[in-house]
Amino acid sequence: MRTVGRPLLCALTALALIATTLAAPIGAPAQSRLRVLATLPDLWAITRAIVGNLGEVQVATRPGQNPHDLEIRPSQFVLVRRAEILVRNGLDEDAWIDPIIESSGNPRLLRGAPSVVEAARGLTVLKIRTGPIDRSMGDVHPSGNPHFTLDPGTLPVVTANIVAGLARLHPDLAEQLDANRRAFLDEVAAATRRWSDALAPHRGAPLVSYHDSWPYFYQAFGLEELGVIEDRPGVPPSPQHLVALIRQMRARRAKVVLVESWYPSDTATAVARAAGARVLVLPQSPGAVKGTDTYIAHLDFLVTSLARALME
């Protein structure tokens, strides 16, 4: 056993030294009363606006990271372990959080618990699939399109869900949270008028995107979805589909192809070139571009970039 113990002890000691050097004990900031974890950057930005200085809001994914095929990282277990409230999308865009929660030793965040906020509850969800659904359609979202925060009109419902969830655990903060929410919604309303004005000259403009990320955005600003390059989510498009799409784009004189920054732009570039349009790479989440880590700054960036592209 002496022979066994020596290498084991050496290995354990080495790992312990590295770990204790790099690790610091969790010290929840004394003034932080709320410890919130948002699964996605858009929910993080919105929740942060509501929480303000009443607590800390963490996010489980990096800005600009594709949430559709996310790989679980051990650091996410630590975030889940520390959080007391979870804000999740509610339409399975962040279903990867469930196995993390189940292995994190924090049962308060298990789906259905009072500490879990489903942001989409009560929203009118777009593109809910009907009829049989199978993988020949790609990696579809059976519950409907989950990119609802791109429509500022959904925020009254989304923020109401978040405030209700936070206040459920901290009733003493309900009034402050609601005041923060109202102030945030006022800012968003003012910004929405600005965004609508910027895109008003392009109302009805036909747009094509790589992934089906924009139906709420189109709806909010009166734009038309002409088509989606990736007609089956997660599966590269077939040449036949691309040919039909290019023909349609030419007929309707579509000017812009939107590409989410986490998707490769080569196919979109080829389609745009063939159809006489241009590619516009846009971040899908706040924080992916420097200076856009608030909801309003993010939408500002999207609207300004698109208006400029449609103008050219």
């Binding site: 022979t3 969790i26 051990p74 650091s75 630590v78 292995s103 030793g105 298990l110 659904i133």
Partner: protein, 462 residues
């Protein structure tokens, strides 16, 4: 009874008519008498008709009260017409039990065991199926000696593992997973076998709401040991499991252990996971005693450092100690490291560097009938570069000693991977192996692998 009650009514009517027709006596008594007689006949007819109807109703009431159970019409499946004529009595006898007991046709009719995605119905757990098919092209010598990487299955396309997995929440306090797999068993040193064997790989429940941040699972499971041992066959980074794992734990792997395991995410700012498990010890190669009286104990400490744009680094240290089938103490320790860098934007390219080393310390029988202590080591390292979502290439190097016999081997395996989608994957891998001692050989092998996933599957991990 009701018949008698009607007679006074008839007399009353006759009397009333008599009173009403009284003034007619003065005019023509004869005519009135005839008229009265006609009326009497009419009333007699009405009375008789009433009595008949009342009697019929009484009989029907008695029949209904006399039955034990109401005759509820039951949907009888359309059966083929009888081949022999049946009498009226026989038909009545045969059809009467149909209301209470299933007929032959009922029993013969195929039934749906459960409903999948029917409108308004939800299946309360996930089902996934994965298929993993491998071909090992090698020389006729390797095929004859059955000493290829996939012993006994050289130069054939074989189902390494077809897996049916059920997983989901049991209740608010627990989740569970059941995995059943079928595949061709290895037949090292024996004639090749093409028989498929089905086995229960995993069946365990995880308790999620224990105090002190404890998560525990019990049942049949793949224990938390090392870096790659916890990875299922179809999720391995290369076609075959690294030599050191295959030698130290056999092709059955350190899998399907029965016992209890608890783990904790420690309360630090960085990730530290500590797990401890107590098992029967059913691995024939390393821990074959198979009894809780001398259990297999496994512990692992895993940590992870988030290096942001520089990637992530995972380190783990594991130890397992138990009794071998010939009742000697065997301790295996493992140290693993995995680094991954992911490109910004689209998440590609991805660079993965990983290495894992195992040390085995076990007692063995000597030729002289005594016992000796052997110390063996082995390791592997690989690098993989994912060019984009579809294409990846890598190289793995193996070096290991045999856990009991004298001998060692090294191998080099370049490979390329193509994934048309998240659910379909193909691999081509070349492997050159040089063995000395008990595994003296020089082997060239070419693996082809095709894997698919049907339905639900767990999210990929770092």
């Amino acid at each position: 009874m009701r018949t008698h009650e009607c007679r006074p009514l008839a007399l009353l009517v006759v009397l009333s008519i008599s009173i009403l027709t009284g003034p007619a006596h003065a005019q023509d008594a004869g005519a009135l008498r005839r008229e009265l007689e006609a009326l009497r006949r009419q009333f007699a007819t009405v009375t008789e008709s009433y009595e008949k109807r009342l009697r019929a109703l009484g009989d029907r009431l008695q029949q209904l009260e006399g039955r034990a159970a109401p005759a509820v019409p039951s949907p009888v499946p359309s059966a083929p017409p009888p081949t022999t004529p049946m009498t009226a009595t026989a038909t009545a006898t045969a059809t009467a039990p149909a209301a209470d007991a299933p007929t032959l046709a009922d029993l013969a009719r195929p039934r749906q065991p459960f409903a999948l995605a029917q409108p308004g119905r939800v299946l309360l757990f996930d089902i996934g199926v994965s298929g993993d098919f491998v071909t090992d092209f090698t020389s006729p010598t390797r095929e004859r000696r059955h000493d290829g990487t996939f012993a006994g299955r050289e130069n054939r396309l074989f189902p390494r593992e077809v897996e049916l997995e059920f997983f989901g929440r049991v209740d608010p306090y627990a989740s569970a997973v059941v995995r059943i797999s079928a595949g061709e068993e290895p037949t090292r040193g024996a004639s090749s076998s093409r028989e498929l064997s089905v086995r229960l790989d995993e069946a365990n429940a995880t308790l999620l709401t224990l105090p002190l941040g404890t998560t525990a699972r019990f049942g049949l499971m793949r224990p938390r040991f090392g870096t790659l041992n916890t990875v299922h066959q179809d999720d391995l980074p290369q076609v075959d499991r690294p030599n050191v794992l295959a030698r130290f734990f056999g092709e059955e792997e350190l899998d399907g252990e029965r016992g209890i395991e608890a783990f904790w995410i420690l309360p630090f700012s960085t990730y530290h996971e500590l797990s401890v498990g107590v098992f029967d010890g059913d691995n024939e190669t390393a821990f074959g005693r198979g009894s809780l009286r001398d259990p297999l104990l496994i512990g692992r400490w895993r940590t992870f450092f988030e290096l942001q744009e520089l990637g992530g680094l995972q380190l783990d240290v594991s130890a397992a100690t138990g009794s071998t089938a010939d009742d000697h103490r065997n301790t295996v320790i493992g140290v693993g490291a995995k680094y991954k860098w992911i490109g910004a934007g689209s998440g590609f390219p991805v660079l993965t560097l990983a290495a894992e080393g195992l040390g085995g310390f076990r007692g063995v029988d000597t030729d002289s009938g005594g016992a000796a202590h052997v110390e063996r080591w082995g390791a592997y390292a690989y690098a993989q570069y994912d060019v984009n979502r579809r294409w990846a290439a890598g190289l793995r190097g193996d070096w290991t000693e045999l856990p009991v016999e004298r001998g060692r081997e090294w191998a080099l395996s370049p490979y390329v991977q193509f994934k048309p989608s998240e659910f379909l994957r193909f691999r081509l891998q070349y492997k050159h192996t040089e063995g000395r001692g008990a595994v003296e050989r020089s082997a060239e092998e070419l693996f082809l692998q095709g894997s698919f996933i049907l339905g639900a599957h767990p999210t990929e991990r770092f």
